[in-house]
Symmetry: C2
Subunit: 263 residues, 2 copies
């Protein structure tokens, strides 16, 4: 089984891409809907929650973990990799690599949660590759609440997105990293507001392409991952919009079970 | 010490009223900022969090607890009252009593979180008093995220409030209960959008008036509550806007300490 986790329903964008690029493999998802959103919380809180999320997936028996949360990837991945007995992938690096290839004018924008932006991880990774690239990061704290509420078409959301993108647009970026796996849910609005000429980098696509390569190159790992269509979604709080949104987004009706977070 | 708790910073509206009506008493506040917001979560999750919040205040040594959270009052108060060794007050009943006295046309509106509205507690309590009163409840799931983000003056917030109040306005309510202790932070916008002729019932004021009466009528209880100005604020996650907003709202700079929720 491939295990995917996120602070809420954002990681479903990664699950969707796994179904697209690796359709044979069985996927288990855990969304920490009882404690979403993570992006405005402190580093220690995020680390604690992330370790619990990892342990939930390990108990279910996954043989590979995809951290489908930029906030966790940005501030807690070092801890996770130390504790995980199975291979584990984060979502930031593949997006950065793609953005560096995509930019022509060497101006990359990042839209992310406050924790992700403040961590400086995108800025750091891009600078490690190419110091001449200018990076403009903008935090977008209200996008996750809107998306978790399923308010994907509201006028207010459109206005807020325009506001968040304003300074990035002024800087004339030609490449924008969606630095949160929730954001592909509103990709069309983002595309409209930032302009059609800007490359949109979706971390869900990039991490799944990396995963595909990893599986193809490592038959040992591939052998450990169960194949089949018995996918299952777990959440820490089953109320709310998760059921509806997951069905709408994945276009299939997967079983959902509540699993309590216990610390 | 009087202990006050809330899912986040909303309960500061209650603290402010305690400072106004009971200025001699020492107050301790706990805001569960690591797990805010509660209002969209399931009943079992809210009960679990509420019991932990209560225990945090009891460990600090409070002799009376004010549940400054409508969501908790609506869905978890029965549990809390069973478990609490000290007197404990909820925020729903005093607001209901005031609203019943205030309405002339017997049409009361409730604005609350999804959990509060779905619990039906306001509707039930009002019907117990007077079956001829019509109650119109509207959930407002995005207000708490906006307020916790400190975005109190954004145009989008104003538009969202107008949208949430639309159906209540159509029903020609003459009294509106702010069914969440966060909402007094945006009372002026609510007043503007619903119309000046509508009575706004602020649960923070009502619960503190009830508390004042209780203390005045019970010298034994009053004797147990420490007097003094050594107020203190605790939060489960110290990052974010809590520091700034608490200073701005309470007009004093109180010490803030992080206290981990360990469930």
């Amino acid at each position: 089984m491939i295990g995917v986790f996120d602070s809420g329903l954002g990681g479903l964008t990664v699950v969707k891409k796994i179904f697209e690029y690796l359709p044979d493999y069985q996927v288990v998802y855990f969304g920490d809907t009882a404690r979403t959103p993570y992006g405005g919380r402190g580093t220690e809180t995020i680390k604690k929650y992330a370790l619990e999320d990892l342990n939930i997936l390990l108990k279910i028996g996954v043989k590979l973990v995809v951290v489908a949360c930029n906030t966790v990837s940005a501030v807690a991945f070092d801890e996770l990799i130390k504790k995980s007995p199975v291979p584990i992938l984060e979502v930031v690096t593949p997006a950065v690599e793609r953005a560096i290839k995509a930019t022509k004018n060497k101006k990359i924008g990042i839209l992310g949660t406050r924790a992700t932006v403040n961590s400086g991880i995108y800025q750091r990774l891009i600078a490690e590759h190419d110091k001449s690239i200018k990076v403009f990061a903008q935090s977008a704290p209200l996008l996750v609440p809107f998306i978790e509420e399923g308010q994907l078409k509201s006028v207010e959301l459109k206005r807020i997105i325009r506001k968040y993108l304003w300074s990035l647009k002024q800087q004339q970026i030609d490449t924008l990293i969606l630095g949160c796996t929730h954001y592909p849910f509103v990709r069309n609005i983002i595309k409209l507001k930032i302009g059609k000429h800007v490359n949109i980098i979706d971390p869900s696509t990039e991490i799944v392409l990396k995963l595909k390569k990893m599986i193809e190159e490592d038959p040992g790992l591939a052998g450990k991952l169960t194949k089949g269509q018995n996918h299952k979604l777990y959440v820490s709080d089953i109320s709310g919009n998760f059921g509806n949104l997951s069905k709408e987004w994945l276009k299939i009706n997967l079983p959902i079970e509540e699993i309590k977070v216990n610390s």
